[in-house]
Symmetry: C2
Subunit: 321 residues, 2 copies
């Protein structure tokens, strides 16, 4: 069928699939709702790492070598901040800083995160709607042997070294979906939901924790296809493999499916995890085994096609640009 | 005599003499009080151009080719801001942005401009006290044929093209001197005051407009030596020559002395304006004729020595570093 596609995404990995979807769907057919649990305030700036990853990937500005941030980035402001004795644990690129500045001052002037995100993505020529999961601040916290840590403190400053015991999303319940996410969930022409290959615990769970989102997905009338973030039992980036162990779960797609029980109809897994497939089918989830590592645009678009195909979404000539 | 020296400075030209004074005086003998009338809020940042010019000059970070800002500057954040559709009339260098960010977030966290300035200058290894004229916001406004313009709008966006009719300093009266300026003015060992070669109307008048500063200078017990910002009847940078004409004043040091009547004891003028000297002496101001253009560190230090000599300040071995 045709109709609208809602993608739920975290940062880098999710952003790649989101860019693949954006490359093959007409812009008006796609809404990308992005995790904001990683957002934080730093040096007076509101930094939204996952929105920025998605934005840079869709605008073709992302650094594909380093795997995060903007291509052609420089670090001059950071060097000055260091000379001035300011905190340097979070790397702020100069180009990236332009984004943080534009966002922060507009938020402070009273614009919602949705308004700002729409403005910034449109300025960069991005067609699909990129929306935050919520305009209310949600802040992921990780309980570790060192106590509760702000997500970026855990993720960047501590490089995920402390053992994680629990995760919570400050601000939920009570954070309502952004207008764009609410609208996409309620669209009569909604035809599929795609869970991008993002960390289930740190990137997707915050979206599910937004008021009504989990219930909306549970009562969906359309296919929900997830792309597993595991490749060979680990994530390509980030702490998913380590986290699964710390949370007492096995390093396999069975843990992913168990975590998303009742939420997903189909899981796309990587060839290196093909051994997981049979067990998943036994758990009433249909499975595609394919290559899920996205090195180049072709990989992103092929995987996006496979996800839409699994969701029985038709592409027409003017979609597949 | 020995004792403490208070320098009053605006931006680029003043900053050079301030750096000269800093190079020859023991750090504890010098306070540099800086104009903040040029300060403004931009993209959520509090930008203090004159404090930054003085800071960069004293730290040896200033760009001597371009004549303003930081050496080795890049403009990546600015390019991103432009791509995002944000205002680009004020050039924000990447290294400079580090300073604006550090200052802005600390101000927002409740630190005074004095505290922030002290912290930033100490971090850069600057010995003398660099203090804002006031911790209260003072904002220079220029009345032009286009109405009252914020200073940076007049100076940067309009490049001083509109004809100036009047100048006012919003926030005065009512802005008290910063603790550092008040303390320097009240020091029993205050031995001289130096007016750096800054625009009298736009850079020094705001300092004089701070509550009690003009009165303190008028009742001073110590020599006040000014270095004229005119070279050949014009300023090296900025709109002083144009402004003198628009305000109905002559393009000579006579206008400077008339403007500072009762405030200065001695004026240092450039050789190219030597013809002005006799008239100034007739106005009861003693005069030094010398080279006032400061290309290199030697020029700054020589001119600083001449200013201190005119103020009968002694330098000892450990001063002249």
């Amino acid at each position: 069928m045709r109709g609208h596609v809602l993608a739920l995404s975290g940062g880098v990995g999710g952003a790649k699939l989101a860019a693949g979807l954006a490359a093959i769907l007409a812009p008006e057919r796609l809404t990308i709702a992005v995790n904001t649990g990683d957002d934080f305030e730093h040096l007076g700036l509101t930094i939204c790492p996952d929105i920025d990853s998605v934005t840079y990937a869709l605008a073709g500005l992302n650094d594909t070598e380093r795997g995060w941030g903007v291509a052609g980035e420089t670090w001059q402001a950071m060097a000055m901040l260091r000379d001035l004795g300011e905190a340097d644990w979070f790397n702020l690129g100069d180009r990236d800083l332009g984004t943080h500045l534009a966002r922060s001052w507009r938020l402070r002037a009273g614009e919602s995160l949705s308004d700002v995100t729409s403005r910034l993505t449109r300025s960069l020529g991005i067609g699909p709607a990129v929306v935050p999961m919520s305009d209310a601040p949600v802040r992921t916290q990780v309980e570790t042997s060192e106590g509760w840590l702000d997500f970026q403190r855990y993720f960047v400053a501590e490089q995920c070294r402390p053992v994680a015991k629990a995760i919570r999303f400050d601000g939920t319940p009570g954070a309502v979906p952004s207008p764009g996410l609410a609208e996409a969930l309620a669209r009569p022409d909604l035809a599929a939901i795609v869970l991008c290959p993002s960390n289930p615990f740190l990137s997707v769970d915050p979206i599910l924790a937004v008021d009504g989102v989990r219930a909306a997905l549970e009562s969906r009338q359309v296919p929900l296809v997830a792309v597993s973030p595991l490749v060979g039992g680990k994530s390509l980036k980030g702490p998913l493999g380590k986290l699964l162990g710390e949370l007492g779960l096995e390093n396999s797609n069975r843990a992913i499916v168990d975590h998303y029980r009742g939420l997903i109809d189909h899981l796309i897994i990587d060839r290196s995890d093909a051994v997981d497939a049979e067990g998943l089918r036994a758990a009433s989830v249909s499975v595609t085994v394919t290559g899920t590592v996205m090195h180049a645009a072709e990989d992103r678009e092929r995987l996006a096609r496979e996800a839409l195909s699994a969701a029985r979404i038709e592409l027409e000539g003017h979609d597949a640009r």
